[in-house]
Amino acid sequence: MDMRILGRLTAADALPFYSWVAVGGAVVTVLGLLTIVGAITFLRKWRYVWTEWMTSLDHKRIGIMYVMLALVMLVRGFVDAIMMRAQQAVALNSTGYLPPEHFDQIFSSHGTIMIFFMAMPFLTGLINIIVPQQIGARDVAFPFMNSVSLWLTAAGAGLVLISLVVGRFSTAGWTGYPPYSGAEYNPGVGVDYWIWAIQVSGIGTTLSGINFIVTILKRRAPGMKLMRMPLFCWTTLATSILMIFAFPALTVTTALLALDRIFDMHFFTNAGGGNLMNYINLFWIWGHPEVYILILPAFGIYSSVVSTFAAKRLFGYKSLVYATMAIALLSFTVWLHHFFTMGAGAGVNAFFGIATMVIAVPTGVKVFDWLMTLFRGRITFHPSMLWALGFIVTFVIGGMTGVLLALPPADYLMHNSTFLVAHFHNMLIPGALFGYLAGYMFWFPKAFGFTLDERWGKGAFWCWIIGFYLAFMPLYVLGFMGMARRMERYEISAWQPFLLIAALGAVVILAGITCLVIQLVVSIRKRNEKRDLTGDPWDGRTLEWLTSSPPAPYNFAVLPQVRDIDALHDMKRHGSVYVRPKQYEDILLPINTGAGVLIGGLAFVFGFSAVWHIWWVAAAALLAILATAAARSFRDKTEFCLTGSKVQEIENRHFRDLAREGVL
């Protein structure tokens, strides 16, 4: 072990002067951070940001911060993507514009960011904002743990971001396969950044999973039987179960890899009895459930959106629930399909191939259930509905190519090729990201009290979907032409036209991202026109639309009484919505605390020093984390009481708004 005071951190190694592209990235990262800090300072908003947001234990605020993190990381991940597209567009018989090995860092950081720091925070944020409201709860089960999860995720994201400024990122891809990722072949800090970023954020995810499960099982409003929960709650439950069963596998796998790298152990090395096959199995035992962790919440969002904008109850609710849970269970039985080419016997490969195809059945069922919900509905084309329709059409193509890859003999041909890259983007972009964006546009008014501009939202949709087809359909073709994934340069001229189309696609997606930014800016500027005082702008069917927008800290002054699926729709039909009690009760709410931010900050310090082998700081940070957690758990007073009269005041305002809008 390295016992120097600063470990292996030296200015020469750490600073990104090895390439102008890296310097550029570092400058942008630092400037971005300075801009945010500067803006808050200039506007004298630090107190506000700290007391109202960073230390908040309100699940809605935590959710909003998750989504903000996700959107920032989406931009960063996309910059990586477009840089790769530009490189491959020009790198025929040349080294392209990227310095050597830079491309390899970029595909690694792109994959890592998109999965761990874009998709995961996005879905966790939406769940946080919406699920407690959908089940008629006042809060999540463990508000403080929720804050810890958020700041651990942010710490992980911070580690990936700072790797661009101090040191380098991994070149081992988002999968980090040894022995390439071992110390023998990769002695630098890159792989360590990858390991510690996902260790830190992975713990946060496990905690989130626990939190959501307990919330859903214990905090439902009276009458909200499991079989009356909105589909989004079901998919959240499934996703959370996957989180707590799958993420520990990732934590252990990367921990073993870290032990190999730091203490020269031999879990996965070539020599000393190590075996990379163990890593690959363990990694995908997490990795396959992970794709369902990403996709299932989006399925829940689509269910809400389709039913709301078709103005019709979901077709086959029970089928959808069973299909969801079947997918969750089956997702643990298929991991081997990620390495049919490892040389397992035909029986083993065939077993896992068939198990994989079996998942296609409940997935197909869901698609048809959404279609049957549209059938005889009354469809309005809100942007969220467009994302859902675009998803259905595009996702079945990805599903089809997925079944192809589940056929071992076909996979032998397509594995590790751009066909595979096209396939998983074909699942993740429509199947996860479009869903999150649909949820973002659908629930934005709930979180902020005004709607998002629909014209720019539709523009974003069309750019994204056209850009998606342009960017990824050529990759299917390139797969047939034998192009491997992760190629920094190539010598086959027949590939170039397809790569140029793919680059064009990325440009169109850039336009889509620009539309998203403009949409946000325009909507904020016109927020007074777009104000929604009812809390229910889309004639909603589920309980989140019963609260005011933004909801009071306690969501529901009176816990709703649920009698049917689509609880709010049912209340509206029976005229039992917006009834006021004679008297409001006192409500206990969590007191804000900076402990979550502190733990996140310390986790960042811990990760950073572990990367650079500054062991004394790492140990101190770890101890400080334990001390903070212990100190916080000795606090007796973690809640304050909002008196009934205060609640009444808040509710009076809401009911005045409702009356003014004429809904009472």
Binding site: P100, D104, G173, Y177, P179, Y180, N270, A271, M277, K312, R313, F315, G316, S319, T341, G343, G345, A346, G347, A350, G353, M357, V358, V361, G364, V365, V367, L374, F375, R376, G377, R378, I379, F381, L389, I392, V393, V396, M400, V403, L404, P408, P409, A410, D411, Y412, L413, H415, N416, V477, G479, F480, M481, G482, A484, R485, R486, E488, R489, Y490
Partner: protein
């Protein structure tokens, strides 16, 4: 590679029975799946049009949200397709097991392939020669490959002839391929392995019997011998290594590379 026509899309136009069978399975599966995919396309567009709030012709029945018949069809049709594909999968996976010997009139040609940073070494144990970045064999005679790695994990792939398999240090995988007629193809490592990965490709040539003999005598004239010292020099990382030949190979060289990582290799 010398001037010969390479196939543009080798996976769509295979040059051997293995790749052909793998491709045909791909096509068959696509056809079977169109049974569900096409209805989804049609229904999405049709429903979005017919039931649009702004003047769609379709009837609005907000209280219609379940039908046992429809539910049954929704579950059974995909399930049926999976049964069909599952049967196909089971039989084809066994038939196309890369470890399975191919039947072709003559004895297969044995070749030992070793992945190195960033090149491929091919040893022809029966012929006593070795080549770097070029795999040559007679067409119409099956090729029996033993594959390992002397570095990180690689994946051995000749798209025109058949699917890939990993090359892992301390371990051996097998692959059996056959070229129907003489031709040139590309092969490469598909598994990212570091800086020289993009250039980690090799020429593949299936030759008629006489031409193969001519190639063999050329290789046998090479002054280089692949003893342990030469092997170590070769194994040092290099990018875009030129095609080269060895006219002699140290005995048990391939086994010793596996044993280097895994202890004695039981044969």
């Amino acid at each position: 590679m010398d001037a010969c026509n390479l196939i543009r899309a080798p996976i769509l136009h295979p040059a051997g029975p293995v790749a052909l069978a793998e491709r045909d399975l791909l096509f068959t599966a696509v056809f079977v799946m169109l049974v569900v995919v096409v209805p989804v396309f049609v229904m999405t567009f049709l429903f979005a049009w017919r039931y649009r709030a702004s003047g769609g012709r379709g009837r609005y029945t907000p209280n219609w949200y379940y039908s046992g018949k429809v539910d049954a069809i929704i579950w059974l049709v995909p399930a049926l397709i999976v049964v069909v594909l599952g049967y196909l999968l089971w039989t084809e996976t066994h038939k196309l097991d890369p470890y399975r010997q191919l039947v072709s009139g003559t004895e297969p040609l044995e070749v030992e392939a070793i992945a190195q940073d960033w090149k491929w070494l091919f040893i022809y144990p029966e012929l006593g020669v070795a080549s770097v970045n070029e795999l040559v064999f007679p067409s119409n005679r099956s090729l029996s490959l033993k594959i390992t790695s002397d570095t990180v994990m690689n994946s051995f792939f000749i798209p025109a002839l058949g699917g890939q398999i990993y090359a892992m240090a301390g371990m051996q995988t097998r692959l059996h391929l056959l070229a129907d007629k003489p031709g040139c193809f590309r092969g490469r490592n598909m598994q990212y392995s570091g800086h020289g990965f993009p250039e980690q490709r090799f020429a593949v040539r299936a030759l008629a019997k006489e031409e193969f003999d001519a190639w063999l005598s050329r290789a046998r004239k090479s002054p280089e011998k692949l003893d342990m010292a030469a092997y170590r020099a070769l194994a040092a990382p290099s990018v875009d290594h030129p095609v080269s030949y060895y006219s002699g190979v140290a005995p048990r060289l391939y086994d010793s590379i596996i044993e280097k990582y895994a202890g004695k290799h039981p044969e």
